[in-house]
């Protein structure tokens, strides 16, 4: 996985809508989820299209440590197929004539059957691999689109408001699943959203965009709350004890020689048993830590 430096300009003359110019420079740190937050029409989706090569930039540069994707000064502009991105479109763009497995294999390649199977298991679609995308529920379709975008081991995963059309409960569930997948696979991603709670929940690096200009960039706590609390706690651990009351369950988890206790709600705890491997993730500002 690699980080990117982006500095891009593009003007859209007055056509069907108002004239618009994008002039945005920001960084995409390696292995993190960068969230671009801004109101509708601020140019968020255009940035994703420019990153994917679906839109041609006028000036600027998109580069990572190993490769330049776009450099107007050198006349370099890699085609979408040469950029190695995974793109999760707002409307998902699942191929309707291909089954769940075929959608994944389209990206992964037929030789990578094991990887496709693994992604289907990780996104809990293993039992649905022969189904058509039309037969899936909203959440399953979302997970399939995410698995398909990841199947090509992209250098950069692009997520265009992927949760905007979902209800609150499903959103919450999918935030957790995206976080878990991110911990497991460690991909570099850029997600755009106009939902501040969503941006704060998922961002490890945040960019605020307004009228085509970056107005703030940095750790999400700093960008959204004005506080320097960028440290996050994230660890793999094993559950060694569970105590429940009516609402919460107190898990005792062990990571190496360290033991932690964490509260989870009973619904989530219902899926966990003593001995399970779990990921404990929290923002430093939200964490509850007990001395054992």
């Amino acid at each position: 996985m690699i980080g990117f430096d982006v500095d891009i300009k593009k003007s859209f003359p007055k056509g069907r809508g108002e004239a618009f110019s994008l002039d945005a420079a920001f960084s995409i740190p390696e292995g993190k989820i960068t969230v671009i937050f801004g109101p509708s029409g601020s140019g968020k989706s255009t940035i994703l299209r420019l990153l994917a090569g679906l839109e041609k930039g006028e000036h600027g540069r998109i580069q990572n440590s190993g490769k330049t994707w776009f450099d107007s000064a050198k006349g370099l502009d890699l085609s979408p197929k040469d950029r190695k991105t995974g793109y999760l479109f707002q409307d998902l763009a699942l191929f309707p004539h291909l089954s769940v497995m075929q959608n994944i294999l389209y990206t992964a390649g037929k030789r990578n059957l094991a990887k496709a199977e693994e992604l289907l298991e990780m996104t809990q679609l293993g039992g649905l691999k022969d189904s058509s995308p039309d037969e899936l529920s909203g959440g399953e379709r979302q997970r399939l689109a995410l698995a398909r975008a990841l199947a090509g081991s992209p250098d950069l995963l692009l997520l265009d408001e992927p949760f905007s059309a979902l209800d609150r409960e499903l959103k919450k569930k999918l935030y957790d699943e995206l976080t878990k997948l991110h911990f497991s696979l460690g991909f570099t991603a850029v997600m755009v959203t106009h939902d501040m709670a969503e941006a704060y929940r998922l961002a490890e690096h945040a960019v605020i965009l307004n009228k085509g200009r970056v107005t703030k960039e940095g750790p999400p706590e700093e960008v959204f709350l004005g506080k320097s609390l960028s440290t996050r706690i994230q660890l793999y651990a094993q559950v060694i004890a569970m105590e429940s009351d009516e609402i919460h369950t107190l898990l005792t988890v062990k990571e190496g020689i360290r033991t932690f206790r964490v509260f989870v709600d009973n619904e989530e705890a219902g899926k966990i048993e003593i001995g399970d491997e779990v990921i404990v993730a929290a923002k430093a500002s939200d964490a509850l830590v007990f001395k054992v």
């Binding site: 994917a52 090569g53 679906l54 085609s79 979408p80 197929k81 040469d82 950029r83 190695k84 991105t85 995974g86 793109y87 479109f89 409307d91 763009a93 191929f95 309707p96 004539h97 389209y106 990206t107 398909r148 090509g152 692009l158």
Partner: protein
């Protein structure tokens, strides 16, 4: 009276014409479906002309072009040492232009209806434009392709004016079923005309029925 020869010739002409229309029509339809060039309406109007032109007008100009003094006729003669007019190749040439809109329009419309996002999604997955065309656009345009093929085939089976102008009435070479029917009627041989007409009717109906049944299956599967 040989009933089978004109029908076999009509079938051969329809198959060859449909094949050629697919070969040239698919790339042209795709180009028309994606191009933003100002010349697009001009090309579309030229392609659609056979729908509104009397077949004799189209046949007349094709005959001028492929006749022994026409530019295409001269070129063909230089290349193959034989004339293009009043030959099976000339019939194919005339039928190609006569049926062109019936192939292009449904296929172009099918290509245009493929969701652009699916195409872009394929590009971002490392697929070339050609691979995306073969694996995404063509399968999703199946219905339009079938419709274009059926219309081209049926239209060529039933053509009369253009083939008469371009091919004349040479038995075994250019005398297709529709001309054979006309000949039998002129000769007052109504029973002969009836046999060929009935055969043509049943054949055309069977082809259309099979294709529409298949098309229904495709739509259900989709």
């Amino acid at each position: 009276m040989d009933v089978f020869q004109p029908i076999a010739l009509s079938l051969k002409l329809s198959l060859v014409t449909t094949l050629l229309l697919f070969l040239f029509g698919i790339p042209l339809s795709y180009w028309l479906s994606v191009t933003c060039l100002k010349v697009k309406p001009l090309i579309e109007a030229v392609v659609a002309l056979p729908i509104v032109l009397p077949p004799t007008v189209l046949g007349f100009y094709i005959l001028l072009a492929i006749g022994s003094n026409g530019p295409l006729g001269k070129l063909f003669e230089a290349l193959f040492d034989q004339g293009l007019a009043f030959s099976f190749a000339g019939l194919v040439f005339g039928s190609f232009f006569y049926s062109l809109p019936f192939a292009i329009q449904p296929i172009q419309s099918a290509f245009e209806s493929v969701d652009r996002r699916l195409v872009e999604a394929s590009w971002t997955m490392g697929k070339s434009k050609f691979e995306t065309f073969i694996r995404i656009i063509i399968p999703l345009s199946k219905r339009g392709l079938i419709t274009g093929g059926v219309l081209s085939f049926a239209h060529t089976m039933g053509e009369f004016g253009v083939v008469l102008m371009v091919g004349g009435n040479i038995p075994g070479v250019t005398k297709v079923a529709s001309i054979a029917i006309y000949d039998e009627v002129q000769a007052m041989n109504y029973s002969g005309a009836n046999i060929i007409s009935l055969a043509l009717l049943l054949l055309s109906f069977s082809v259309l029925l099979i294709v529409y049944m298949f098309n229904r299956k495709v739509v259900r599967a989709a």
